[in-house]
């Protein structure tokens, strides 16, 4: 309790200092300009595009400005399944990334604390995949999971995979790809909080006769919460809009299309810009709502 009280007080001091300084406002200017130019403007353009209607008798891909809100009804009716699938896959991927990322972060941030060299090395190992393009790594998994590849062969031999079944192109391979690609985004924020965790608090918990599980639940986990929250957000948000893993050219098939895949097809192939824009806005709105509920539920607004 004392800990939270202290941090809250510190924050207050910070804020009042910020308000008084004109330099801070001046320094904000580039950021604000950037947001207006590259966020607000495209957003307005996106909303307007989502309300366009086809020019009657016009060319393929020819649209004009209107207030055609039916675009939203159309995309929800047509692509509801793919949207639901996207959020389902993203939630699963976040969960698996958390299950793998948390122990990893705990190991690096706490267990390896006494061996700085090993700790640095382990961190490099987590970050190392970033040195290779994410597209290449995903393509590599496609090769590993290929029908004639080693994994499918083994799965076949032990009866996990029936004849004629395959690993790629299934929900499994897409969720696997998402999880794999986002593990570093989950691990690093959790590591950052655990690395600063004051071990004396854990010790104090033990001194007060709490068993290790209780200490973990009541001390370590709440203190790691900011990392877990930002890790989940960093994973869930981009994973919901991902169109690479689920793409037919990577780990997906015609049965795994996510909302990103649908937006891509509408934009690049069907030239249906209003539908693509409406879907993007739906995606944004749903993420916003889900994230708001999540943050509210975890009761950690002040930690963000």
């Amino acid at each position: 309790m004392a800990f939270t009280a202290f941090s809250a007080a510190e924050q207050k001091v910070d804020e009042s200092a910020r308000k008084r300084s004109p330099i801070a406002l001046f320094l904000l200017l580039p950021g604000v300009l950037f947001l207006v130019l590259f966020f607000v403007t495209p957003l307005i353009s996106l909303v307007l595009t989502s309300l366009q209607e086809p020019v009657p008798g016009g060319f393929f891909g020819e649209y004009r400005q209107a207030l055609n809100w039916q675009n939203y009804v159309f995309v929800l009716e047509t692509y509801g399944v793919q949207a639901a699938r996207a959020f389902g896959y993203a939630a699963l991927a976040s969960l698996f990334a958390l299950l793998i990322g948390f122990p990893l972060a705990y190991f690096i941030g706490i267990t390896l604390r006494r061996f700085p060299l090993l700790q640095a090395l382990a961190l490099v190992l987590v970050i190392a995949p970033f040195f290779i393009s994410f597209l290449l790594r995903t393509l590599a998994w496609k090769q590993i999971f290929a029908i004639e590849g080693p994994v499918a062969g083994l799965a076949n031999a032990i009866g996990l995979l029936g004849p004629g079944e395959s690993i790629t192109g299934t929900a499994f391979s897409v969720v696997f790809g998402l999880t794999y690609n986002f593990i570093p985004f989950m691990t690093l924020p959790i590591y950052a909080t655990l690395e600063r965790l004051d071990l004396r608090l854990v010790e104090a918990g033990g001194d007060l006769y709490a068993n290790p599980a209780t200490v973990f639940r009541t001390v370590t986990l709440p203190l790691a919460a900011p990392g877990v929250i930002s890790g989940t957000l960093l994973t869930f948000i981009p994973a919901s809009g991902d169109y690479i893993n689920a793409s037919r050219d990577f780990l997906g098939s015609t049965e795994t299309a996510m909302i990103g895949t649908v937006i891509e097809a509408n934009f690049l192939v069907l030239q249906n810009y209003p539908a693509a824009a409406a879907l993007s806005i739906v995606l944004m709105a749903v993420i916003l709502v889900l994230v708001a509920i999540y943050v509210k539920r975890s009761g950690t607004e002040d930690l963000l």
Partner: protein
């Protein structure tokens, strides 16, 4: 205002230009809110009128930016392009050869806004497939070629001189052509003769097809006995689409992909596929032996060509005309064809090829004879409405339910 436009492409183009002239500045401004400043500038630069061809500065600027597909020009071991280097030496024109076209649709999607404003898209010439070229010509996004500068255009193969989308070849000239047919892994599968053979139970889950609608659906339609060059109906298209959907949802077709379908053949995820002719030759070359075989199905294969065109905003048309003229020399065309293994549109290239490699001169995939060509068909041009309907139906299968 809401009357449907006449079907005639020329009339449609004129109407579209007229409409653009009235609307461009106002709608552009209204349409984009805060981003309007940039667009307003762009709109001013075109004078707010119909899109007109850029002024030619070829004389003072001897360069060409050429956008093309991967593996589509002769290469040497150092990654240079021998025929292109010879052209640069001959003419003093610098050619920037950019491999930026990966897919007709996505290339179009990246440049269409600039085209609509008549701006330079960074390419003075680009090679696109017939149906996409048809769209560009219809929308007035291409410049008329001056044939006086391209005397070698007379070498164009007679059957390619009057395509429905560009009678008399005023706006486009073919670069290379090819077939879509069926290909299979000879080590694992016996000979395939028709598209029906792809649906055999032995191949369940091991068949790949192309995401290019005109090739995949075109082959199925041909198999159904439909003439894809003729005036087929939406019902005939939908009948083929139903077969396609059934094979996808039933798991017979493993994947629907673009040019990357070759990867699936190589790692043996797919044992048979709907494929493009030149790719299979290249795969066999890489494997070192004839592991895959390509055949035009008995019911017929599709024939397509990629064409040179000059985008409306390019100020270097005369240079491009020199380039096209050069590639229409039979000897040069033969040199390119020997490497890329696609059909060359240039008459006389076959005779020139006999000097380079007599065996290749007999290759039906590079120099198809009458008999081979009789068994192929070009997918007819679609109206905007058909394009919308057919593409949406095709994509709905690819995106699943």
């Amino acid at each position: 205002m809401n009357r449907p436009l006449p079907e005639d492409p020329m009339v449609r183009r004129l109407i579209a230009q007229a409409k653009r002239a009235q609307l461009s500045r106002r709608t552009m401004l209204a349409g984009t809110g805060a981003g309007a400043t940039a667009l307003a500038l762009a709109a001013c630069s075109t004078g707010g009128g119909a899109v007109e061809a850029a002024e030619d500065i070829s004389e003072s600027d001897p360069t060409i930016n050429w956008a093309n597909w991967p593996f589509y020009i002769d290469e040497d071991e150092e990654g240079g392009y021998p025929t292109l280097e010879a052209f640069q030496e001959q003419t003093g024109i610098t050619v920037n050869y950019n491999i930026t076209v990966d897919d007709n649709n996505s290339y179009y999607a990246t440049v269409r806004d600039q085209l609509a404003l008549g701006q330079d898209i960074g390419a003075d010439t680009v090679c696109l497939t017939d149906w996409m070229v048809a769209r560009w010509i219809q929308l007035g996004y291409t410049q008329e070629l001056n044939k006086d500068n391209i005397p070698n255009a007379a070498n164009l193969s007679p059957d390619l001189q009057n395509p429905e989308f560009d009678p008399g070849r005023r706006f486009s000239l073919p670069w290379q052509g090819g077939f879509a047919g069926i290909a299979w892994n000879t080590e694992q599968v016996g000979e395939l003769r028709s598209v029906d053979d792809l649906w055999s139970s032995e191949l369940t889950g091991r068949v790949g097809v192309l995401s290019e609608m005109r090739d995949t659906i075109g082959l199925i339609m041909l198999n159904n006995g439909v003439d894809i060059s003729g005036d087929f109906s939406a019902d005939e298209f939908n009948a083929a689409l139903d077969i396609f959907r059934e094979q996808v949802t039933g798991g017979q077709i493993r994947n629907v992909r673009g040019n990357a379908y070759t990867e699936d053949l190589v790692n043996e995820d797919t044992l048979a596929a709907i494929a493009w002719s030149g790719d299979i030759t290249l795969l066999n070359f890489e494997a070192g032996y004839e592991k895959w075989k390509f055949a035009i199905p008995e019911a017929g294969g599709t024939l397509w060509a990629d064409n040179f065109l000059v985008p409306i905003g390019s100020p270097r048309k005369a240079n491009v005309e020199q380039l096209i003229n050069y590639y229409y020399e039979p000897e040069v065309a033969a040199e390119v064809a020997a490497w890329v293994n696609y059909i060359t549109p240039v008459e006389g290239a076959r005779e020139a090829m006999e000097a380079i490699d007599p065996e290749l001169a007999e290759n039906q995939l590079i120099f198809p004879n009458e008999e081979t060509l009789a068994n192929t068909a070009i997918f007819r041009g679609l109206t905007a409405q058909e394009e919308n309907e057919f593409q949406a139906a095709f994509q709905s299968v690819l995106l699943g339910a």
